[in-house]
Every structure is written in C-alpha cells, then in structure tokens.
Symmetry: C3
Subunit: 141 residues, 3 copies
C-alpha cells in the first residue's frame, strides 16, 4: 500500500475557470507507480473550487463562469460584505462546486474520461496563490 | 487490504434523474467481502452527474430535474452552443452536482441511509451510454 | 493500515448552516494516530448537506443559507409537495451541495486550510437528529 501526500502551489489566476490537469499530473510523478488507486485533491481555501469538466473548448470554461455568476449573483441581501461584492458569491460558489475531488488511478495514470479535465475555478476578482493538498494512495505496480 | 476496480456500463437513459443503486450493487459483488471500506464511483463524462438523493418517490427525481433546469437555464448568453442549447446547461449541472461519489461500505453492504439512493442524472436530450469507473477498497471480512 | 468507522449523532439544529468541525474532531480521537490518511464523512439523509466553508464570521453561514433559498426557491412547479414547501427545495440543495466530504489527515490532525470549517447545512424547517457515518483510514504514525 502506497501513501503520498504533497502540497501543490498554484500561481494566482484571473477570476474564472482554468484547466490544471497537467499541473496536477506533473506535481505527482508517483502516479506512475500505482496499479489501482485514488488521487484526492483538496483545495485549502473558501473562495475557489475544484471541478471536473470539458477539457477541449475554452468557451466552456468561460460559459461556466457566466453561469456561476447568474446562479450566485452579487446583489442578494448579504450581510458579509466587508471584503467586497465578489466575496460572498465566492463562498456560495465554493459550497456549490466543492473544494475536493477524488479521481481514480489505473495503471500509472489518472483514469479521466476522454473529455474530462481538472478545473480550478477562481471566484475572487483579485486572485491569490492557491494551495492544493494532494493525497495519492493505492496498490503499487 | 482489498482493491477492486471495474467499469460499469449504463445504457442510454432519457434526460432526467434515474435511480441506479441496484445496477451498482449488482456490478460489484465483491462488496460482500468488505468489512470496513469505501466504494468510489466516477462517471467518465462531462454532461451527466452522479448524486445521492431520495430513493422512494419518483416525483423527487422529476422535481429535481425541474429545479436543475431552473438553476441552469438554456437562455444564458453562452458562446459554446454548437452542440445544441442543452449542451452548455449540461456542463453547468455537471459541475454543480459533480461526477463522483464516495460511499461507505460496512459489513458487506453499502452503508446508505434508509432513504438514500444513487442517482444518474442525464443532462442531455439525446442520451448516450454512460460509463462509471468503480473503485472498491477496504478491510476484508 | 488503519481503518475506523463510527457513527456521529448530531442533535437537531435550526434550518441553516452550522459549524461542526469540533464535533467531528471530538468524535474521532483516532485522528491522532494517523500519519497520512483521509477522513470520509457521509451524512445519511436526503434533506441536509455537508460542506466546507469559512469558519470565522457567522454572517457567512447566514448569507449562504440566504443564497441557497434564492437558488432553490420554494415556488417552482413541484409535484412532491406532501411533506411541505420546504421539502423539495431541501432535496435540491442536498444534490447541489452533496452529502459527503473527504478531508486529508496529516500528522494526527485534519489538514484543513486556515479559514476552512466543516458545515452541516440543515435544509428543513423542523429539524431532526442527523447521523454521519465517519470512516477514517490511513498510515499509522
């Protein structure tokens, strides 16, 4: 049984959804040594999310951000407004999408579907660096 | 420590939410040999979701689909429209609900609550077969 | 390899989001004996959710409940209405937020970010006791 735990530091990105599959794979070379297992990704923040969605057309990422702004608008009667009008909607989006993913590993690779990629969705206007705590566990090859 | 990984093929279903608990249990007979463990289900697609919700009244599944259409409507100003008006809302619903579930296993059975069942929510009008990669791991009995 | 599985009983709470991090930690003293691992929490119900969000300002919990009521309103054309107008929106919120969390464990502690806490979001007006099935697994220290 193999257990690896490591922090992945992501640079600040613009508000919106960003494909980070290759950043994740590059940060965990031990994926290669797993026969059957799981990779757990945990974003250690409350105003950004991890998600799995379409990996090909950048318009999907833009349209997803448009939809999130529609679903969690800035003009609801919020009380927690000290950190700006984008802050409380960011918390709402975080709870809707979630901050963690569990992805199967098979024969040394992430077993994503053909069209699936890992998204970091940054919900704040003024981004900061984001940290993911990655935990890989499984049967060694 | 037991590790099993297997693909579950689901036939095409109509748009909406469908109870698939028994399909999942039937596909993983090794559940029976687990004392304490987890079953991870990973849907390898970007326009359908897995969820856990009420297993008794079919109206709940219908009403959930109604609510999802309200939450992620087709008439937002989307750019990614080539695959039809139901495509981008399908991607949005996928990120809201997620594509994976982790369910506890106890004494050889899925430890679901009395009213809980596993849903496949198909977000596209013209369905296709869907694949779940199931990973079972735990302490053998 | 360590495996612990235990039910956590939570008393009935008012509709809304509640911080339960310390209840969870107190219920699983074996966290202390894990070097690298994961804690899986599974809420065995269909009208309440688990989530991770901001652990400091109670206004965030109130505003999140406000946003959930906006996103899943009571006045949609629902069929499943026998259990009251808050019931079907509760099922919708449950599928949006989810009923389970997987949290990394590192050196005997939950590896939450500085501002992260565990929320129980009760979606019903008349609350009942809620049960979480917790599964802890990992490498012993």
């Amino acid at each position: 049984m193999l257990w690896i735990q490591r922090t992945i530091e992501l640079p600040a990105v613009a508000r919106g959804c960003h494909l980070i599959t290759s950043d994740v794979v590059r940060a965990i070379p031990e994926l290669d040594s797993v026969h059957i297992g799981l990779l757990h990704l945990f974003l250690m923040h409350t105003s950004a999310s991890l998600s799995i969605n379409e990996n090909a057309d950048p318009d999907v990422r833009r349209d997803l951000a448009t939809a999130l702004d529609h679903i969690a608008p800035e003009d609801l009667p919020y009380t927690h407004t000290l950190e700006g009008p984008d802050d409380m909607p960011a918390h709402v989006k975080t709870s809707l999408m979630g901050v963690s993913l569990t992805i199967p590993v098979r024969a040394g690779r992430l077993a994503l579907g053909t069209w699936q990629g890992i998204y970091l969705c940054e919900h704040r206007n003024h981004a900061m660096r984001r940290r993911i705590l990655a935990t890989l566990f499984g049967q060694p090859r």
